[in-house]
Amino acid sequence: MSIADNPFFVLGLSPDASRIEIEREAQKLLGMLELDFADARSYQSPLGPRPRTPEAVRAAVAALRDPYRRLVAELWARHAPPAQPAAPPEPPRAPGYPGLRRRLGWRP
């Protein structure tokens, strides 16, 4: 199981959420996705923002309805570090000398 796909992160809920809160949040998110709300199209995870789809929301609710799968999901979600905002793009690595080989007579 990837931590980025953890049902609690997909639904944007804390691991303490009750069953009613989970169902309500899932219905709300499915409605928002149906209406193509920008806020609903992604969620925060410890690995950065991820796209949220209706299938992912339904899978998350199904997972949290199962006590055993919820137990495992809680273990990861409860102990994961806080969700990360999108990481800034890494600065380009200092390249050598692109095209040098060609300039030294060796092509390409």
Partner: protein, 496 residues
């Protein structure tokens, strides 16, 4: 009148070139200057003789003298600076042959031809090159270099680099071909900014250096601030000696390295309270799987997971939550097992991607299966690759020489990668199968296909591996195999 000084100059020129190939000190510049002076004098003498014959009206002797005295001196520079950039494959080949580089002149000719092809690739020239290369048997260093240059021409620089490096295992040594290999690798390393790799090659003197290689090696040493790096004036002398001065001028400006900061003392791992094991494991896991994994990070993550999954606090928390959630009986043990499996899977993937060994002496819920998974996965893939190799021999299915070589190089690379990741333990486990398969293959190639250099390279590698694992029987057999005289185009080679 002309013959004696000309013959002396030929001898001196050859001596200077040979001395330069062996040297990487300040004398390199002196030998190069001497070789250049000899070449100029030979040109002057040759041209004067041609002119004299022309004045005497013996025009046919002018032509003969030109071909014999002047052409060998100008053929290689003309090939390099004119025919190769123009992509004139066959002319470059004949220029290489005419430059009289030694006993086996076509070897250099083919390399020039492949180099010219890489500048202007055409299907017909590639087919011509491949046909002529495959006709040259047994396999030698020139055929491997031709193939590497063909790969480079197709844009596969990684493949070309591996093949170029594999030339070091071949006992047939054409010095002029090796110079080209060294220069290609040096230019490639400089383009990638791999100055350490270039410097290591220079220190090991793996390839005879052309003036351009020698310059790039000096630049690498200066950039790494290595001991014995050339001073500014020596570097300028190397630069003046090398071709493509306009392209290399920018490289002379060595960036001033920032003063190295003393490394901060590593914080001693704090003894975390039991309840902190799980957050620490999850944080380490995320850190490892999202960045490029390193051996210390992997060991730290495995240690954290082993501690977290064995921790009584984790068990208590899971038991309490299982009760609250009304989870089925046995859910706690199953959850611990599933988490250990998922974590092991992800860590194994990260370790495989970064070619890391399993951390030693970590025998917990994650450490043990991870070590087993990594070792077995690598051994299985190695064994199946060597088994395919053996199966081909049993079926008598022979590839063209160059493809046999490429398969061996690929297998060797896979073996080395697996052993460097799996450590000595995996090396000892993998060696017997590799040895039996490789020895049979080497014998088959030697006895039935007369591929002496190829067979010797396999035997040599197996002998080195046998020494690494301390297998005395294999060492003895390896010594016997490696002591056989190898027939090459340049004559018989007696191994060390």
């Amino acid at each position: 009148m002309y013959a004696l000084p000309y013959l002396v100059l030929i001898k001196l020129h050859q001596l200077a070139i040979n001395a330069r190939r062996r040297d990487r000190t300040w004398r390199y510049v002196a030998w190069s200057t001497m070789a250049a002076l000899c070449a100029v004098l030979m040109m002057v003498l040759g041209a004067a003789f041609c002119w004299l014959m022309w004045r005497l009206g013996v025009w046919w002797l002018t032509l003969v003298a030109g071909v014999l005295l002047v052409l060998p001196l100008v053929a290689a520079p003309v090939a390099r600076h004119v025919l190769v950039p123009l992509g004139r494959v066959k002319l470059a080949y004949w220029a290489g042959v005419a430059s009289r580089p030694g006993t086996d002149a076509p070897a250099l000719g083919f390399c020039f031809a492949a180099w010219a092809w890489s500048c202007r690739p055409t299907p017909s020239a590639e087919a011509w090159l491949a046909r002529r290369r495959d006709a040259r048997r047994p396999l030698g260093d020139a055929e491997v270099v031709v193939t590497a240059l063909l790969l480079a021409g197709r844009g596969d620089a990684d493949g070309a680099r591996k093949l170029m490096r594999s030339v070091a295992m071949i006992v047939e040594v054409h010095p002029s071909v090796r110079e080209l290999v060294g220069e290609w690798l040096a230019a490639d390393a400089a383009e990638r900014g791999a100055w350490r790799e270039l410097y290591d090659d220079a220190i090991a003197a793996r390839w005879p250096a052309t003036p351009l290689t020698y310059l790039l090696e000096g630049i690498a040493a200066r950039r790494l601030e290595a001991a014995g790096a050339p001073g500014r004036y020596e570097l300028v002398a190397r630069w003046l000696l090398a071709p493509y001065r306009r392209a290399t001028r920018t490289l002379l400006r060595v960036p001033v390295a920032a003063p190295a900061r003393p490394p901060e003392p590593a914080a001693a791992p704090a003894e975390l309270p039991a309840l902190d094991h799980l957050p620490r494991a999850v944080a380490a896991h995320l850190d490892l799987t999202t960045r490029r994994a390193s051996a210390p990070a992997l060991a730290d993550t495995v240690r954290a997971w082993d501690a977290a999954l064995a921790d009584a606090g984790t068990h208590a928390w899971l038991s309490r939550r299982a009760l609250e959630l009304d989870a089925p009986l046995g859910a706690v043990d199953r959850a611990l097992r599933d988490i250990a499996t998922a974590v092991t899977d992800e860590l194994a993937r990260a370790a495989e991607a970064a070619q890391l060994a399993a951390p030693a002496a970590l025998l917990g819920a994650v450490g043990t299966p991870l070590a087993r998974r990594l070792r077995h996965g690598r051994l299985d893939s190695l064994e199946s690759a060597f088994t395919r190799w053996a199966g081909r021999r049993r079926a008598g299915e022979r590839y063209p020489s160059i493809d046999e070589w490429r398969e061996f190089v690929a297998l060797q690379a896979a073996y080395e990668a697996a052993c460097s990741a799996g450590g000595d333990e995996l090396r000892r486990l993998a060696f017997p199968h590799a040895f039996s398969t490789g020895s049979n293959m080497a014998a088959w190639l030697w006895n039935e296909h007369k591929e002496y250099a190829l067979s010797h390279a396999i035997s040599r590698w197996l002998l080195d591996e046998a020494r690494a694992v301390g297998d005395t029987e294999a060492i003895e057999l390896g010594h016997r195999n490696c002591s056989l005289t190898i027939h090459t185009r340049l004559g018989k080679v007696l191994p060390d």
